[in-house]
Subunit: 199 residues, 2 copies
DNA sequence: GATGAAATTAGTTCAAG
DNA sequence: CTTGAACTAATTTCATC
């Protein structure tokens, strides 16, 4: 498990939202300089956390393609195979593989094509049952989980919802807090700490 | 269904590969000017074909994230409400709303949190049943399908795999071909066409 | 629609802390 | 690991075709 600090987290969130956002813009958000942001992004790529910058397309807009959702009950021994095989299929956009050996995929293909494809690709050894249903609407909001990457307010310990605030104290350290009153608080705490050190 | 010409298609492919590629670079590939590429990308965004520039992350690298998949059987009259409400929830990454009034969502949250959330948000009027299951693996494959977007070689009609080549004849028209021999061929054809026209 | 030239804005390199 | 300054590169605007 790679160590990411809260700044990396913010950078990733900003890039998830808009991968063409300028490093200057990101730098302002995290209160660092553009070269530093650039260095951190390079590091995130080197670490393999950022796999690539890409573009999310709405394929239903240009293909006269339908979307459908496929739920596959696999035999537990073959669940992983099925999951891997699905990813090779052109038109399968998302696939999820659950603890109960179900594989759920969203395909940008008409249901009939999916039926045909699956007859070809999946064997009865692997799959006990599957069903295909047309999707009326789908949404996708790429994000981090709140677990493990959650930023906690440095003052009150609550998780920071929304944007929060970032405070830079005189030492140059950054603190992420949930609201303006915690931001005031941290400045006050730092000040009293510094005065104590001076005495 | 939106009309995309072959240049749009090439632009989209290049952006899928690397969304931070410069417009200059793209402009060279498609033999147009940077402002034109910029205009076309703007148009693709306006049309909703490009939904967002984003970043593909390897979550396994850092996450002690739990993901889970929620399947909700809704009362048909409330299916759309449920779908909309889900999207507001922080941690819901995908939501799909199918013709049989099932809403499937993938949350980047531990199952217990999802249970708690849903108790709050969803009423028994809306939902007849739902169940939550942990996700072991999930994948996203940002790619074109072959349906509707395939580029064919102007000479031999084969689909263009890999990069292909783009040829600009004297009239200024662009042709996309699969290989250098088809590129030669199109120049030759254009030349003989022009000579015939002169006579 | 597409372009080239000018103006603006962004990214990178590097010496230094 | 970070920065500011200098430099290089990319993007946008706009007049023109």
């Amino acid at each position: 498990m790679v160590e990411l600090d809260s700044i990396d987290t913010v950078i990733l969130e900003l890039l998830l939202e808009d991968a063409r956002r300028s490093f200057r813009d990101i730098a302002e958000e995290v209160e660092l300089s553009p070269p530093t942001v650039s260095n951190r992004v390079d590091r995130l790529r080197d670490l393999g956390i950022i796999q690539r910058f890409t573009v999310e397309l709405d394929r239903t807009k240009f293909a006269n393609e339908d979307e459908c959702l496929v739920t596959i009950d696999t035999h537990p021994d073959h669940a992983n195979d099925v999951f891997s095989q699905l990813q090779e299929i052109d038109g399968i956009e998302h696939a999820f593989y659950t603890v109960d050996s179900t594989v759920v995929a969203k395909a940008v293909l008409p249901p009939s094509d999916v039926q045909a494809l699956f007859a070809d690709v999946l064997s009865s050894e692997q799959v006990s049952d599957y069903h295909v249903v047309s999707v009326l609407e789908s949404s996708w909001k790429p994000q981090f989980g709140t677990t493990g990457l959650n930023i906690e307010c440095s003052i009150c310990g609550n998780s920071i919802s929304g944007d929060g605030e970032t405070v830079k104290v005189e030492s140059g350290d950054l603190y992420h807090v949930c609201c303006s009153s915690c931001a005031k608080e941290i400045s006050a705490q730092y000040e009293s700490f510094r005065q104590a050190a001076d005495e």
